[in-house]
Symmetry: C2
Subunit: 288 residues, 2 copies
């Protein structure tokens, strides 16, 4: 299959690596606004050619994978639309779906029916194609959020392609997707960024960070993620994220009161609910 | 050395395991309000005897290690005080120091000068002596917060003993300790508990948790920690924790506004500050 990758980063690079391992790639062309990213991907043999523009990259491609920050996707879709081959399939790997789908609908015209919105639930805090990993999706989930116009043929093809990465592929409504991931992904990222920023902004904050132990390391691992990517995600999903953050802040206000007043019962009840749920929780990837 | 361990859990058990490996233990006696904890420690050979009371455990001990939740320490100190051998040393492993020191001062009488407050910056979210590990402290820090009355002899002995676990031992003022750990440990725990509790309290919350990926796993690992232990820590350090939580909530209010209004610059600035600091940050244990 001839693949065009727009946005040559960790996720897009990992997809190509997985598909190459599965023998699915005839040629892969990459385009990134940062030329050094494409150069690294060439060096690693993930792409065969680096293109000078989105239009050049997608010409002749049978599948176009858009793996830029979600804030850039509308522009990418618009540039791709003019140069797409008639039967080309498209997908994206954005962490928000409602906004990206609206962007695609506005930009793609007739090709919109061959676009299958996707979100691989996999990542690591290390950005860049140099961290691409063919095993990244193994045992993970990839969520597809097709809409009424999505061609069932295109959907079936992408389901098969994504399954070949070793992931479990499943479908979900875009709205529900965005609400769920506001809670379990976007809000935790915002909270983790905020904690490190809050400590860093204090006098002596950098020295304080030095005392963080294993708990701090775990809690703040996601604060090393790409600021631009997460800015875009927070904005693209601002309605659902805003609602989750508001709900969370109400709980924090209650916990502040409990701390200030020495209300042991409220703290214990909240911590017990959380500990019980978290101990039951199993990462889908734990099974691999 | 004859050691009495009051509170036979993961941290206390790990200390005994490390000291046994270093050849420092003649006999170890354990006491826990949960008899099965002491039984497990006997089975694993971490303690030689299980005592029926704090007083019985500390009689004849050269070193008493208090490793209960911090909310129980005042009572433990009081019960130990009556039965202590004249030259016995004491230490604790509590995550807060100001309150524990006040409890020790009130309860220990003349023995207070032989008490060395300590906080091993090591842990895992799995509670219980069955998770005790002789290597837990290796490469980690153990912070001692002696006060004016602390005997320099007792301090030097405990510094040496803790160093024999493989940890880096350092001194700090108790006040400063409590402010620093409110920021880098107690607040993250409260925030992590709160996130899981908030999602769990929503309709369909348990199903939503199932979509959490690697970021969620990292952020919420500490929400599986002991609710009673963390309730006690939050209450024992309520002044410093309350202040940190208040400061954090001000930042969250600003980020809520940025999300609601689509203010990209504020989000990006905050995320960039955090990502830069977090990428520089190195866990002292990473070096091991």
């Amino acid at each position: 299959m001839r693949i065009a990758l727009i946005g040559v980063g960790m996720i897009g690079g990992s997809l190509l690596a997985a598909w190459r391992q599965a023998g699915l790639v005839t040629t892969a062309t990459g385009y990134d606004i940062d030329g050094s990213a494409a150069a690294q991907a060439l060096d690693r043999g993930l792409i065969d050619r680096s293109a000078d523009s989105v239009a050049q990259a997608v010409r002749d491609a049978e599948l176009v994978v858009v793996a830029t920050p979600v804030g850039s996707m509308r522009e990418v879709f618009a540039q791709a639309a003019a140069a797409l081959a008639p039967a080309a399939l498209l997908t994206d790997v954005g962490s928000t779906k409602g906004g990206v789908i609206a962007d695609a609908r506005a930009a793609l015209g007739a090709a919109f029916s061959r676009y299958v919105p996707a979100h691989p639930i996999a990542g690591k805090e290390l950005p860049g194609v140099k961290h691409a990993d063919a095993r990244l999706f193994s045992g993970r989930r990839i969520v597809l959020t097709p809409v009424a116009e999505t061609s069932s043929d295109a959907l079936a093809k992408l389901e098969d392609l994504f399954a070949r990465t070793g992931a479990q592929v499943q479908r979900m409504e875009a709205d529900e997707h965005d609400r769920v991931f506001a809670a379990v992904s976007h809000l935790p990222h915002l909270l983790s960024f905020a904690l490190v920023a809050a400590i860093g902004a204090e006098t002596g904050g950098e020295r304080r960070l030095g005392y963080g132990g294993a708990g701090f390391r775990d809690f703040t691992r996601i604060a090393a993620a790409s600021p631009v990517m997460w800015r875009d995600i927070c904005l693209a999903n601002r309605e659902a994220l805003g609602a989750e953050l508001r709900r969370y802040r109400v709980l924090l206000e209650r916990l502040q009161q409990a701390v200030d007043e020495g209300d042991a019962a409220t703290l214990q009840r909240t911590f017990e609910l959380a500990a019980q749920l978290r101990r039951q929780w199993a990462d889908p990837a734990d099974a691999r």
